[in-house]
Symmetry: C2
Subunit: 234 residues, 2 copies
């Protein structure tokens, strides 16, 4: 069976990515990173239980606190309050860790090349676009070129972002199809349990389920209505 390194934060996007990789015939080597973010422990627990769930051949956990050292961000700096979601803003949100996905993908490619894995999976999606430049298909294409040129001649590692052109709603739909245990996944930038329901991460996740007419199985402090109701036509 062919191996793939899958970047698994413990949230719904990466959980669905794990199941997508399995569905495509890969054995998922979990790569979970902690980078000093407030929600590190909760995300680790979710990622680990998911690895047990799918009987992953490997769970690689790397501490990447240097990402906090290298760049300021509300995810890593206690002094910056987490903003509520602003759906109308074109600004890069304050949760942005500069060039984060390049760091994560570089680690994943190192692990893949060392293990002879044929692919690296990452769960970025199209609604990250406006905020996170390193979630765009154009970025992944350029990074693929760097991988092709920067690894050994005999190495072939494909960068797979299966949901790069999809919405979060598409991911929720695909995850429900694949039987992803969403109740074991993590949400909420604010590190609250139950999840706050109002930060950017919670807002997008709740909206995705609401658009599908499904109830998100995790607990929320509040469940504001985010979906416009027009897209529950599946």
């Amino acid at each position: 069976m062919t191996g793939a390194v899958v970047l698994v934060s413990g949230g719904m996007d990466s959980a669905t990515t794990v199941y997508e990789a399995i569905d495509r015939g890969y054995e998922p080597h979990f790569l979970h990173t902690s980078y000093g973010q407030e929600t590190a422990d909760s995300e680790f627990d979710c990622a680990k239980s998911l690895a047990d769930e799918v009987d992953a051949p490997e769970f690689i956990h790397v501490e990447t606190d240097h990402l906090a050292t290298l760049g300021a961000s509300s995810l890593t700096d206690d002094e910056v309050a987490v903003q509520d979601a602003d759906r109308d803003s074109d600004e890069v949100p304050d949760s942005y860790v500069p060039f984060r996905n390049a760091n994560l993908l570089s680690m994943a490619v190192s692990a893949a090349e060392a293990r002879g894995c044929a692919a690296v999976f990452i769960g970025a999606h199209s609604e990250d676009f406006s905020g996170y430049p390193d979630c765009r298909p154009a970025f992944f294409e350029a990074f693929q070129s760097a991988v092709d040129r920067g690894t050994k001649p005999e190495t072939t590692v494909e960068i797979v972002a299966p949901f790069a052109d999809d919405s979060k709603t598409d991911i929720a739909r695909r995850g429900l199809d694949l039987g992803v245990p969403f109740e074991q996944t993590w949400c909420c930038y604010r590190s609250e349990k139950p999840a706050c329901g109002t930060c950017e991460a919670c807002a997008y996740r709740l909206e995705a389920f609401q658009r599908l007419g499904e109830r998100d199985p995790i607990a929320y402090e509040t469940r504001p209505s985010y979906a416009d109701g027009d897209e529950t036509h599946f």
Copy 2:
């Protein structure tokens, strides 16, 4: 004055790169990484004294032990003996950390974007070619494209590998011109002091100085003759 993040290992290539960056009008923000390699402490001391020497505005030190976790290498694995230099081999040497430069450059770009620095300098050179795929100009070009697409719209960070087309001898010559304090730089993969004189790192360094007819100011256990004598024509 414009800032540049410079990847500084503490060896002669990166030391010369620091002076090159200064010569081009940049203030060098030092980024020094320790990744579990045997020579970590010695390299740190050399990098730090160099930062003091040039009055660097910043010395960023990040522990990147995860590179050892992610990939096996003789630089990070005590059980793999360091090979003597094999100048005739086309094989990727066992000191290779898979996709290492992509990891280092990603960190440097994160730091540069967070600080508003305009460039990232790395001291790779042409004689790394046969062994290290991620030292080639083609790799740096592809990585530049990933940087352009993966950072904020208003961010411009140029990847500068000033010696990518040069030999180690060229670097030694340029360093002597720029007044690089080579006596404060580190060499030797074997973590010996004096340097062994026979590992790949020592062999290339000694050869570079011998070709210029100059004496390398650091101490060596032995000083084999590596230069063919035909190229001391400068």
